[in-house]
Amino acid sequence: MAKEIEKAGILAAHICTIVPISQTVGANRIIPAVAIPHPLGDPAIPEEEELQLRRSLVEKALTTLKTPVKDQLVVK
């Protein structure tokens, strides 16, 4: 998906749990996610902390879209 979107000339940031798969497939901007059943959330932490976590993941993705990259970038 990330690759096809970029082929169409639109930048894509891939939020993905299993980073090596995203690297193999060829995404250029990769944001590590939480876990396969809940990539953008974590049922084990309090709701407020989770909201914080979700916000930070989305913000990372948006910030990464503004970052010029030469090689595949995995956001820490």
């Binding site: 749990t17 299993i18 939480v34 396969i36 059943p37």
Partner: protein, 420 residues
């Protein structure tokens, strides 16, 4: 550890007034079987017999189990699930070869597939060739899915033990003895043989995606050593309902062909130095931890080579590749087994993740290859099957990976792929 498997070869099953074995026929008292199942499960069950060659399509398949029981007074089969606990892998176990208990229930989030007992589809599933005792459980809308699934699993295991009890007073058709003492391998006698271990990756990732070791999910497990005879004797039970060809139902855990082959070659072609099980976790850090722990254990076993198998597709490719890469980095040679998701024409990349170290890969076939199934006279279960809008009785075109066991990741089946 000394395990004796007494095999009773069953060629036919039918209903009767008592559950008994007469020559190669298993007769089943359906009422008594239902009572055994419903004793603790409080579910409603319909028991159906499906024989090879019958024009029947089975859908909504959960776990599949080979009927087995410990010999009379010899303890409990599938310890950890019920009864007094005693570790598996020792003593005499009675096996009804050629029979399978198939749990069927429509549960959302199960990745659906089918078994055809006749026609083209029957060529692809090992369970088209077994005499199947199909347990169809009616939905209980007010029950939590986890509880419904748990009760069905217990019911299937109890049905398996109940059916195999019919063999208690019978002499087996064949007896196999499995004994392995890796600590006592005579290095001087066998110094030319390589020490080979097996890394058996299990998949436990939450609701309807769980695998059990002695009754507990391996969800939190990193890695542990286990005696191969324990696995052959019911230590591991499946509750994992990913794509049917990517699942290892309990039947395959009991009959794991890698363990069987390693046993057979022990002390003539190789030294079978042990088995390490680990979990394929749902997060990357947990995956890396499991890999590191598993590799540490095979090093402690003194392995010079390992066979690695996995369960599930996509993210499980990462577990497989990280494991392979780390073993090779430690100078432990690897052979990995997997199936492919290479698109309908086989031209797409086969795996979601690959590494250069994985240079010995055995394929169990391409899940995406399409097969045309013949029309059936009867359908058990209600589907739905992904991408299928036709009546389920009709001739269907589906990816072979939707057929239970077709491209089995332990190599239980005979499919493979050829490159042109």
């Amino acid at each position: 550890m000394n395990l004796e498997l007494q095999r009773h070869k069953i060629k036919r099953i039918e209903f009767g007034s008592t559950t008994e074995i007469e020559s190669d026929t298993l007769r089943i008292d359906a009422k008594e079987l239902a009572d055994v199942i419903l004793d603790t499960s409080d579910l409603s069950v319909d028991i159906i017999i499906c024989r090879p060659g019958e024009r029947v399509r089975i859908t909504n398949i959960l776990d599949i189990i080979e009927p087995r029981v410990k010999s009379e007074g010899g303890g409990q089969m599938f310890p950890g699930f019920w009864g007094p606990f005693k570790k598996a892998g020792n003593g005499i176990t009675k096996v009804l070869e050629g029979v399978a208990v198939v749990n069927v229930a429509a549960i959302p989030r199960v990745q659906e597939g089918l078994i055809d007992m006749n026609g083209t589809g029957a060529r692809y599933s090992p369970f088209s060739k077994t005499q199947n005792v199909v347990l169809c459980f009616a939905p209980v809308p007010e029950m939590e899915i986890a509880e419904f699934d748990r009760r069905i699993r217990l019911a299937g295991l109890k049905a398996s033990a109940y059916l195999a009890q019919a063999s208690w007073q019978k002499a087996p058709d064949e007896t196999e003895i499995f004994e392995l003492k890796p600590d006592e391998i005579d290095i001087l006698t066998h110094r030319k043989l390589k020490r080979i271990a097996y890394i058996y990756m299990l998949q436990s990732q939450g609701l309807l995606r769980d695998t059990y070791l002695y009754g507990s999910s391996v969800h939190e497990l990193a890695a542990t050593t286990i005696h191969p005879s324990e696995i052959m004797d019911g230590a591991i039970v499946s509750g994992n309902y990913v794509i049917p060809s990517n699942r290892n139902p309990t039947y395959f855990h009991l009959n794991n062909p890698i363990i069987r082959e390693l046993y057979q070659r022990h002390q003539n072609e190789l030294l079978f130095c042990g088995v390490v099980i680990c979990n394929e976790h749902s997060g990357l850090e947990a995956k890396e931890k499991a890999v590191e722990c598993a590799v540490d254990l095979v090093k402690k076993l003194g392995a010079e080579g390992v066979v690695i198998t996995k369960e599930g597709g996509g993210n499980a490719d990462t577990d497989l590749m990280l494991m392979c890469q780390m073993c090779e980095a430690e100078d432990i040679r690897t052979v990995v087994i997997g199936n492919e998701g290479a698109g309908t024409d086989g031209a797409d990349p086969s795996l979601a993740h690959t590494v250069d170290a994985a240079d010995a890969f055995v394929t169990a076939g391409n899940n995406d290859a399409l097969v045309k199934l013949d029309a059936m006279a009867e359908v058990i279960g209600q589907g739905p099957l992904p991408g299928v809008t036709e009546d389920l009785k009709e001739s269907l075109i589906i990816p072979v990976g939707r057929i239970n066991g077709a491209t089995n990741l332990l190599g239980y089946n005979t499919l493979s792929s050829r490159a042109y």
